[in-house]
């Protein structure tokens, strides 16, 4: 990363790590500020960051060394794929040092600069920072803001942005005021291009995402998986109740409804007075030869498959069907479009919602297929600068539970499920 303090570097780093991890690409962020606090530079005053402060410089230098050392260990010992060195890297001299280090270790370097002259944006970042950064824990907020502005000034005097001509041999991306303008230079590999496309699509306008499963279906009642059945009587009741639930959660805000192409999500959305869009990519995980069967039937007819799925539910691919991993891959364009959009309500299926939820809530891959997402419940996600806030509203309409615990073919109220995390 390259950029002055309060330019959203850590926000962008964390988003990238979350996105790549979700796609099963090992990614990790090394935040030099955290190492600086470890190295003895906690709760520093602004002077600490002055270019001529010898003690400050020594500690900051040590912090970078520690971060880089951990990063290298991670690459070699933990098979790391994408590491993010989250620091200001504000001078060409420092970047040359990073570059040399990468080249010596056969690491492909890409510089990602967040450049910002929108004062409102900077002010918002600082406000966020003073309440979340350990550097200002327990400080008076106004004093913290003042110290932070002074700290930024120390960097401004030496800061050298990436330049289209001077740095033309580097692989780099410059994000100007989030993604109002983007400059991309010498992007060469697949991963680089994925990351660039992802950051290009980020925005920081406040908005919410709502998630809901379809109402209870006839197949749910019959304990069958897959299929394309209609809603049950109680499922229809949920569909009729949904507009009210949504309105209570949104106020008067406008939104767009996304459904799958299956009958039960369309029926669930039918009374909502918003623009609607169908996505094939939101269809339920394809159970292949097991489509339309109950778990008991699957256990009897395909006992080995039944066991294999319990053992590694994320990787298990139904014969002629899909695994959770397959679903994540086909959901990638949905996630990309979700990042671009504002208010969206997604009405889809259990496995698909688990994958979408895992992206926003950073649920580890092995746990995501076991997260409990009950029927007749509206989930609200509020993306914030450093995570996502979750709240849920249960419609007061009974429904069966479709949760299947590990090691049994019974479905029912989960006793040992992975509870959906509500903060990340």
């Amino acid at each position: 990363m390259v950029g002055l303090p309060a330019r959203g570097k850590s926000f962008i780093s964390q988003k990238i790590v979350r996105y790549l991890s979700w796609l099963s690409i090992r990614a990790k962020c090394f935040n030099v500020g955290n190492y600086r606090r470890l190295a003895g530079g906690s709760k520093p005053n602004a002077e600490f960051f002055a270019p001529d402060n010898i003690e400050g410089q020594r500690i900051r230098e040590k912090a970078v060394q520690m971060a880089v050392e951990d990063m290298m260990n991670w690459f070699y010992e933990d098979d790391g794929v994408v590491a993010i060195l989250d620091a200001t890297n504000s001078t060409r001299q420092r970047r040359d040092w990073v570059l040399k280090l990468c080249r010596e270790n056969a690491i492909e370097p890409m510089f990602l600069e967040s450049w910002c002259d929108d004062q409102d944006l900077i002010f918002r970042n600082i406000s966020e920072m003073k309440t979340t950064s350990p550097d200002y824990e327990g400080c008076d907020p106004d004093a913290a803001t003042q110290v932070f502005y002074e700290r930024i000034e120390k960097y401004v005097s030496v800061y050298q942005p990436l330049e289209e001509v001077l740095d033309k041999e580097l692989t780099f991306v410059r994000l100007i005021n989030v993604a109002e303008q983007v400059v991309i230079n010498r992007i060469e590999t697949y991963l680089e291009s994925r990351i660039v496309f992802y950051v290009m699509n980020l925005h920081i306008k406040p908005r919410c995402i709502w998630l809901s499963r379809h109402g209870e279906s006839v197949y749910n009642l019959e304990k069958k998986i897959g299929g394309d059945s209609h809603l049950s009587t109680r499922g229809m009741e949920y569909a009729r109740k949904l507009p009210e639930l949504v309105r209570e959660s949104t106020g008067d805000a406008n939104l767009t409804v996304w459904t799958s192409t299956l009958v039960r999500t369309g029926e669930t959305a039918q009374f909502l007075p918003y623009k609607q869009l169908q996505w094939k990519a939101l269809d339920e995980l394809d159970a292949g030869v097991c489509d339309g069967m109950t778990y008991e039937e699957i256990e009897k007819e395909y006992p080995e498959d039944f066991k294999a799925r319990d053992e590694d539910k994320y990787e298990y691919r139904y014969r002629g069907g899909e695994s959770y991993r397959d679903v994540v891959i086909r959901l990638e364009p949905i996630i990309m479009e979700l990042e671009r959009q504002e208010n969206i309500l997604i009405i889809t299926h259990q496995a698909v919602l688990r994958c979408i939820y895992a992206y926003f809530m950073n649920v580890p891959q092995q746990e995501s297929p076991w997260v409990s997402i009950p029927l007749h419940t509206l989930i609200k996600l509020e993306p914030r600068a450093y995570g996502t806030k979750v709240s849920t509203v249960k419609a007061d309409i009974p429904a069966v539970s479709t949760y299947k615990e590990k090691g049994t073919s019974k479905v029912g109220e989960p006793a040992h499920c992975t509870p959906a995390p509500t903060i990340c």
Copy 2:
């Protein structure tokens, strides 16, 4: 489009139109050069393009007017979605005029500049131009080159590139030396972001793409569709022969092999001495409830579906399965990655190959599901500046035909198939 002559504007325009059309987005290119020739400016000398040539300017002005008029008619009468005005649009004054026109007609304008100072690249474009442009038909090639350089000079004197500060209110993309550096400004809509990502991934290095179906499978012999069967004896023979066929076509060039996740493509690729990659997105069109059936069984069991599929094969979605349209959508990331890569050999399935072939060869949607792609045949695609060259090599190993003609459930040598176009 914005750019001096010989900067690849028409190449980029045509690629975008082909890509969007393949994704079912109505797109069309309006090439002002073609209108200029109609308006009386055919076979012009360099002087014709001088900023102070009154007659030249009158004709060029008329050409733009004609192009824009046709473009507007196309938007309104043919439900056009993305029009490309392929012209130099070299001054800010001209671009302001286009901008005003768009705004008055509720059209979202995006400027795409191809800027190039790589003299080799320009020279290659000019060489291509003098052999393909109607302006130089029948001219001595050296003289044509000379005239073309002079013509470019006339534009250089007045050319105003897009600028990051001056034009910061516009939605624009600047491609610098193809996509070595890319500047993106105020990209706001989904379609804009798709187009930007697409052009970012284009390259013009010479390379080839080879396509092959898997060898004949056991299901092919049994006339069954779908499934995940092994190769037949003859199919295995094709797999053993494939390395030789490929080597004869590639010479010593290196390549990467892409297969689907199904057994028959892996078996076909097993003797190839190249790096291999499996893509779930390359799996055969999912026939849903009809998977594993013969066409005769489908006709008997699902007569209405059988008829509906024949009537609109592109749109027909198998119950619980996919349509050709669905396959195109899941192939989009494959096409994007193909554009980025160099030599690739794809071993996959009939329907999937029809879709990939349709992209490269600009086959209209309604025809693509009927294109004949026989077994045991290696297809070579060579992308050129203005189209794709195709050649095929048949392995001398017999195989059944899996081609099903319209209106029958019989498979066999096609009598009335859509022949695969071999030039586009």
